[in-house]
């Protein structure tokens, strides 16, 4: 138990550190970066809950982020703007206006409900078939967002979403996500799911109902994604379905893979490392563009670096930077070792 408290303490400490640093520096750009980081934490920890524990790659996560974002947006856009922002919205919903704090949670619940409704049969599959179906699921969710004009305004940008996500809200949710992801991992359920990852046959032989276990993990994972998406929507205030597709999938996957999908600490570190690297590279890109060294805008450097880093990590350190042990385990273990001497 003590090691878990240390893990949670350090990880939440990191988040608090970011908040304090940003408050002290008081630079608007840094605030944006910090909020983004906290939202990424929620999303990546959500992916960790499913992918890290079950060992199955899921491409669909960002799709559930979209579900959460649209759910919350649909119910919170001010009524006087509703007609313009969502001209085709169903009459039943046209006059429903709820508090964003409620709808952010609803966003998570709707995403979880969608995941629960469609994913059970998918959990039987493994290896390539599982990945292709999750990829297909992302395409389906994306296509629906792109064309269900009644609730998404189609491929056009949806605007007028009230800005509620500030640094404190984002950081609080991120902290909750850290605790929840670790609690799931160490729960009886989480341990069983991890057993199916390490040895499917042995876990089945012990009577574990593998599809059931994975299904629950997947639903919880979608809950995180939905809440993260809703938070993001109330931060960015206007977005289109493009925001929930392969590019974003690549980023969260990169964060998790680099940090180490099997541990909560890895997921958190991955978000921090990639965010810092990304922002540094983006600043560099910006400087190059401003100096007009090249005739065209420089773009894509961040993705190239992330892609190379992902490949390098998978080749040289397949489990990510933090492979199997949480930071708390390492500290407790390290201390015990010293004690023995």
């Amino acid at each position: 138990m003590k090691r878990h408290i240390i893990t949670v303490g350090i990880l939440i400490g990191l988040v608090i550190l970011v908040v304090v640093a940003v408050e002290v520096a008081n630079v608007r750009l840094f605030v944006r970066i910090a909020i983004n980081l906290c939202i990424m934490l929620v999303l990546v920890l959500g992916l960790q809950v499913f992918m890290g524990n079950s060992g199955i790659l899921s491409f669909a996560h960002i799709g559930f982020m979209g579900v959460g974002a649209y759910t919350s947006a649909m119910l919170t856009i001010p009524l006087q703007m509703r007609g313009m922002a969502l001209p085709d919205l169903y009459p039943v919903l046209a006059n429903v206006l709820l508090s964003p704090y409620i709808t952010i949670i609803m966003g998570g619940l709707v995403a979880a409900a969608v995941a629960a409704a469609i994913s059970y049969p998918l959990m039987r599959l493994s290896d390539a078939a599982a990945v292709i179906t999750s990829f297909a699921l992302l395409v389906v969710l994306h296509t629906i967002m792109l064309h269900w004009s009644e609730v998404t305004n189609g491929p056009r940008t949806l605007f007028g979403i009230p800005k509620v996500t500030n640094l404190y809200l984002a950081a609080t949710v991120a902290a909750v996500a850290i605790v929840a992801a670790l609690a799931f991992k160490e729960s009886r359920l989480g341990i069983l799911v991890r057993a199916t990852r390490d040895d499917e046959v042995a876990a089945a032989a012990m009577g574990a109902n593998i599809p059931n276990l994975r299904w629950i993990a997947f639903i919880i994972s979608a809950l995180f994604a939905g809440i993260g998406g809703a938070l993001w929507g109330h931060f960015i205030t206007s977005f289109s379905p493009k925001a929930f597709y392969l590019k974003e999938t690549f980023v969260i996957l990169g964060m998790l893979v680099i940090g180490g999908p099997r541990t909560v600490t890895g997921a958190v570190f991955g978000v921090f490392i990639v965010t810092i690297a990304f922002e540094a590279l983006r600043a560099l890109e910006g400087m190059i563009n401003q100096a007009q060294i090249f005739s065209e805008q420089v773009a894509g450097v961040t993705e190239i670096v992330l892609a190379l880093a992902m490949i390098a990590v998978l080749v040289f350190r397949p489990g990510g930077l933090l492979t199997t042990r949480e930071i708390g385990d390492m500290i407790v273990h390290g201390r015990n070792k010293r004690g023995e001497k």
């Binding site: 179906t133 297909a136 395409v139 893979v257 894509g300 190239i304 998978l314």
Partner: protein, 296 residues
Amino acid sequence: MVGLIQFIIDFLSLGGAYALMALGLVIVYGILKLVNFAYGELIMVAGYTLYLVGGTGMPWIFMAIIAILMSVLFGILTDYVAFRPVRAKSVTAVLITSFAFSTLLQNGALLFISPRPRNIPLPDIFTETIEIAGVITPIRNLLTIATAVISLSLFTWLMRRTVIGIAMRAAATHFTMARMLGVPANLIITSAFAISGLLAGIVSMFWLGRIGAVTPGIGLEPLLIAFIATVIGGMRSLQGAVLGGFLLAFIDTGLNYTLPQDLLKFRDAFTFSLVILILLWRPEGLLKGPASGQRT
């Protein structure tokens, strides 16, 4: 009657392109049981090569050959960068590295060329039309059909008559057994990637020829098409992939002719839901591949 001929030409030219795309994906999947997410980018590579050699003034056919060779080269590069270093580690790792390699290539094009579409040189014949039995159709469509027939015949010959082809078919069912007969694993896998690149390169000429330009994201649609076609056709059978390609083209062309516009836009959602349902029902794809032969 005119409508029918029109439909048949549309269907066959689209089907030919789809079949080649699917075949390029399944040749690798069959042997490694791994999806190459960077497959669509091979088409992009061929397109940008065409664009880059466009100003040289050489005959188009040479430009096309260079473009196809680049696609083959990048196919092999995919193996060396994304597959070989992690192949032995885990399925998930390879899928992620191939996804990362896809992003790498896309953003490479974005960075070194441009995010905006670039026109590619095309021979005049691509834009001309011809009248057959009262139907006016682009010559490009007929060329696509002819090229598909030739490519598929060549491919069949390669797989049936050459030792390396036979070895590849063998490796698709029992990889270790093929190695225990002396077939080198790396040679087989690299050959599969080379053939994959060759097919992508060939199909890219016609695929990009329809659009006339290339963008960094151009590879996504061919990848998705190849996905659906192979899932429909059976992921381990080469004939199945070809059949799946034509079947998908038939569905697509049919829907284009029949579905009202506002439902048509959900076509991808329908076809991908179909993909999920098929995989749930038969994880190996709709048509059965060769029996695994794991009898005792």
